[in-house]
């Protein structure tokens, strides 16, 4: 593959990542609330203090209240092969079931949100994608 093309791809990649982060910074305070809500939800599911159905509803509500998650909605819809309207419910349902069954640990999910090691988070992201796919397929 041509070096020039690869260089332009790398530049495009860097620029795009920066533009996403810059756009996100305008809503950092609102996103912090979302962050808190997700961590609290993970803790509640982990301790068994919330019913599965309620946890899914809360998870969907958290995502639906965030405008920036619309892109993520599209990725999940494509990845799980569901209509975009059903993406959060399907994705949240699979994540909560993974937590319930211990197939994906609460610590790993927290690490994905709060961790500082980019490589560890990259691996956890891939593992979560894989687990989500199989959980969804098994339940579909």
């Amino acid at each position: 593959m041509g070096q020039r093309n690869l260089r332009s791809t790398a530049v495009a990649l860097a620029l795009w990542s920066c533009s996403i982060t810059a756009a996100a910074s305008a809503e950092q305070i609102a996103e912090a609330t979302f962050d808190d809500k997700m961590l609290a939800l993970i803790a509640a599911v982990d301790s068994g203090s919330i019913e599965t159905g309620d946890a899914v509803t809360q998870c969907v509500g958290n995502f639906a209240a965030e405008s920036k998650t619309e892109k993520l909605r599209d990725v999940i819809a494509g990845f799980l092969g569901v209509p975009r309207e059903a993406a959060f419910e399907t994705g949240c349902g699979a994540v909560i079931r993974l937590l319930d069954t211990g197939e994906f640990s609460a610590d790993d999910l927290r690490q994905l949100i709060e961790g500082k090691n980019a490589r560890s988070k990259a691996v956890l992201s891939g593992q979560l994608l894989r687990a989500l796919y199989f959980k969804h397929e098994a339940g579909a």
Binding site: M1, G2, N5, L6, S8, T9, A10, A12, L13, W16, S17, I20, T21, A24, S25, Q28, I29, E31, A32, T33, F34, D35, D36, M38, T69, K71, L72, D74, V75, I76, A77, G78, F79, L80, G81, R84, L112, I113, E114, G115, K116, A118, R119, K121, A122, V123, L124, S125, G126, Q127, L129, R130, Y133
Partner: protein, 168 residues
């Protein structure tokens, strides 16, 4: 109040890269402003992954050559770079086989039609058209193709307890 706000902002900054890591992966889509995928005409030297996928889809006989070209570039660190660990983990591949696993799945997905020609062209334009759904389908196609390759490999591997005589 400002302490809480500062704490929230810091936490938010931790969340942003985690949640958007997946979205950043979509940056492997083609450069802005070009609508047609540039073609090299030589599968052993594709201009990019889209050219490679189209070539093996058009001529499945190029499958092995295409996979080798992709693996060569992955080894040189020219394919997806920092995002390869995400895809490798998704495909359940050890880090040292990340490039090979990704490339074989990519070629399989293209040849078998898990990712159609329209998908490949849409993926190339995904970034400028903000088409994240196509990117999700690309990840799904890679996973499906990789699982199929794994099943084929398992089926082709003779069982030690099979009829080869080891039971006696």
């Amino acid at each position: 109040m400002s302490g809480n706000r500062s704490q929230r902002t810091r936490r938010s900054r931790r969340w942003i890269p985690a949640a958007l890591l997946l979205l950043s992966l979509a940056a492997c889509a083609g450069p802005q402003g070009k609508r047609e995928i540039p073609r090299s005409g030589d599968v052993s030297r594709p201009t990019n992954l889209y050219d490679l996928m189209l070539s093996v889809q058009e001529t499945p006989a190029y499958r092995e050559t295409g996979a080798k070209a992709c693996i060569r570039q992955a080894k040189a660190g020219n394919v997806l770079k920092e995002f390869l660990p995400v895809i490798a983990a998704m495909l359940d591949a050890p880090p040292e086989k990340a490039g090979k696993t990704f490339c074989r799945a990519l070629v399989e997905a293209a040849v078998a039609g898990d990712f159609s020609e329209a998908d490949i062209r849409a993926m190339y334009l995904a970034r400028q058209q903000r088409d994240f759904r196509t990117f999700g389908r690309f990840l799904r196609a890679l996973l499906v193709a990789n699982e199929r390759l794994g099943a084929q490999q398992a089926a082709a591997t003779p069982s030690l307890t099979g009829s080869a005589g080891l039971r006696n």
